[in-house]
């Protein structure tokens, strides 16, 4: 709490204030989209989309430097690449007979490889580390506005189509029989995922973003009985992880992204242990009984 007061009152810590606010704003989108990803079990798709984003960032940096086009920012490259991957995955899942996990692996790795190559080709020195693992010093005021807008858009869409999105995640076949175009809702969910991923790239980086999409909802699902409470709890947890992670990184001078993810991970494993404690005790008990 002291940390929060300090950040918001000390004008020299304005960068921290921006990344905290960015984290809190994006938590809304992360909690909601993440809940869908967890219940629909498509975190591997989200992983492929998020890693392929590096390709877009690298390409944007390269084009922008090479042809001197300042308005092509790494951020716009990231948005384009993530939406492109989302549509590609949706299209392949719908029409191709290819095994989905092979395709996702390909999107995942070629995106990253392309990104690194483009960054290497870009004139001048660019450190890919800040894109891969995040850098809380990079959030600007403009970013903050964009994040707030995108996050509200995602939440609004999810709110508007909630019944259909939940139903399509639960039983696609049934809705198809009733003439509901479930493919459209799948695409909607993938594009929501693509946009959500971009929101926190600055803070936790491409590699670990999948954790922010899955760990808060996965922890929340252990503690809630319906989808609504699960997504609300995910939002709260997500914001809590961002605040405490940045707090830890500030206090002990540690990298911000990993501190956030580590907090989320420790919390998740604790919840997992506490909610399955009886099962573990019973299992160990049986183990010893059998030995006697």
């Amino acid at each position: 709490m002291n940390f929060l007061v300090e950040v918001f009152s000390d004008p020299t810590l304005v960068f921290l204030k921006y990344s905290l606010l960015a984290g809190i704003f994006s938590s809304f989108a992360f909690g909601i989209t993440g809940s869908y990803i967890v219940v629909k079990r498509i975190s591997y798709m989200a992983g492929a989309i998020s890693h392929s984003v590096l390709g877009g960032i690298g390409f944007a940096l390269f084009i922008s430097a090479k042809f001197n086009i300042p308005w092509i920012t790494p951020y716009s490259g990231a948005v384009a690449a993530s939406i492109f991957s989302a549509v590609l995955i949706w299209f392949a899942e719908k029409y191709s007979k290819e095994r989905l996990d092979s395709l996702l692996g390909a999107v995942w790795a070629t995106g990253m490889a392309g990104g690194i190559i483009f960054i290497a080709l870009t004139p001048g020195y660019i450190d890919p580390m800040s894109y891969l693992f995040g850098n809380i010093l990079m959030v600007t005021k403009t970013d903050l506005i964009v994040i707030a807008l995108f996050s509200s858009l995602i939440c609004f869409t999810a709110f508007l189509f909630q019944n259909k999105l939940i139903a399509a995640s639960f039983d696609e076949e049934f809705l198809k029989i009733r003439g509901v175009r479930t493919d459209i809702y799948n695409l909607m969910l993938l594009i929501m995922t693509a946009l959500t991923i971009v929101l926190m790239i600055r803070i936790v980086g491409i590699i670990m973003i999948i954790a922010m999409l899955t760990l808060p909802p996965a922890s929340a699902s252990r503690l809630s009985k319906n989808f609504f409470s699960m997504s609300i709890l995910s939002i709260v947890l997500s914001a809590f992880f961002v605040i405490s992670g940045i707090g830890i990184s500030f206090k002990y001078d540690l990298p911000g992204g990993p501190a956030i993810i580590l907090t989320a991970g420790v919390f998740y494993f604790s919840i997992l242990f506490l909610t399955s404690k009886n099962f573990i005790i019973q299992y160990l008990g049986n183990l010893f009984k059998n030995k006697d």
Partner: protein, 260 residues
């Protein structure tokens, strides 16, 4: 008087993989309004596949299917489909209420663009659950229910839209005797008072003979039997015999007299 033909299969074949042995071959039948058809047969014989062809989830490789005179999928809202409860994710956080309300979502009604449920929909949901005696568990999470309770919820979901045809995949698996009894009278009621056509898969022969008008025994192909000859012995023959593969027991075609 000519009866209304609801479902028609003409020379239908289906295989799950291209160029492999078909799971259903040259299936021909017609189902008329107000019939109760029960599909029986060995595991892997194609019972569920047949239901999926009727409901339009699967498209036939060969042959033609007509539901109310047009191809399956176009009349999806007239079908109340109940799948087996085993294929559901056992940790999906959704309430009984929301599972049943799913049965209202569709392409035609006005609220369907966003899929918001009206007050009337919620009343229908309660009524549908009351029919299967599950109204007390309306707020419970679906995953917390027993196998039989889940099935009753899925039946309620199939009933909520008041469909013309009920397509039920093993509605009586996992349920106790009393529930089964209630279920039989529910089907009887829907059939007699509301003129519903019912197509279902069942392993339970006792259940089958009580209310059904036709029995389809399915194992890849179709052979026809009159119902009045249906006995424990013929059924045993169906399941064990390699020569008889799909047998249809039917009042209507007893004049064909093709029983051995």
């Amino acid at each position: 008087m000519k009866k209304d033909q609801i479902i028609k299969f003409k020379d239908v074949s289906y295989s799950y993989l291209p160029n492999s042995t078909p799971i259903l071959e040259n299936i021909n039948f017609e189902i008329f309004k107000k019939e109760i058809v029960c599909i029986v047969g060995p595991n892997g014989g194609g019972k569920t596949t047949l239901l999926k062809l009727i409901s339009g989830i699967l498209k036939p490789d060969k042959g033609k299917i007509e539901i109310f005179g047009s191809s399956p999928g176009e009349n999806g809202e007239k079908i109340g489909y109940m799948p087996q409860s085993v294929h559901y994710d056992n940790s999906f956080p959704i309430s009984v209420k929301n599972v049943v309300l799913m049965g209202i979502l569709g392409k035609k009604n006005l609220t369907s663009i966003f899929g918001w449920y009206s007050k009337n929909d919620k009343i229908k949901c309660k009524k549908a659950l009351a029919k299967v005696k599950m109204e007390n568990l309306i707020e419970k999470p679906f995953y917390a229910l027993s196998g039989g309770q889940k099935q009753r919820v899925l039946i309620a979901r199939a009933l909520i839209s008041d469909p013309e045809i009920l397509v039920l995949d093993e509605p009586t698996a996992n349920v106790d005797y009393e529930t089964e009894d209630n279920f039989i009278s529910l089907l009887k009621d829907l059939n007699e008072k509301k003129n519903k056509t019912i197509v279902m898969v069942s392993h339970d022969m006792g259940f089958v003979s009580e209310i059904v008008t036709s029995v389809f025994c399915i194992n890849k192909t179709l052979v026809i039997h009159p119902t009045n000859k249906l006995s424990g012995k013929t059924i045993q023959e169906t399941y064990n015999s390699s020569s008889i593969q799909l047998i249809r027991h039917d009042h209507r075609c007893s004049d064909k007299g093709h029983i051995r």
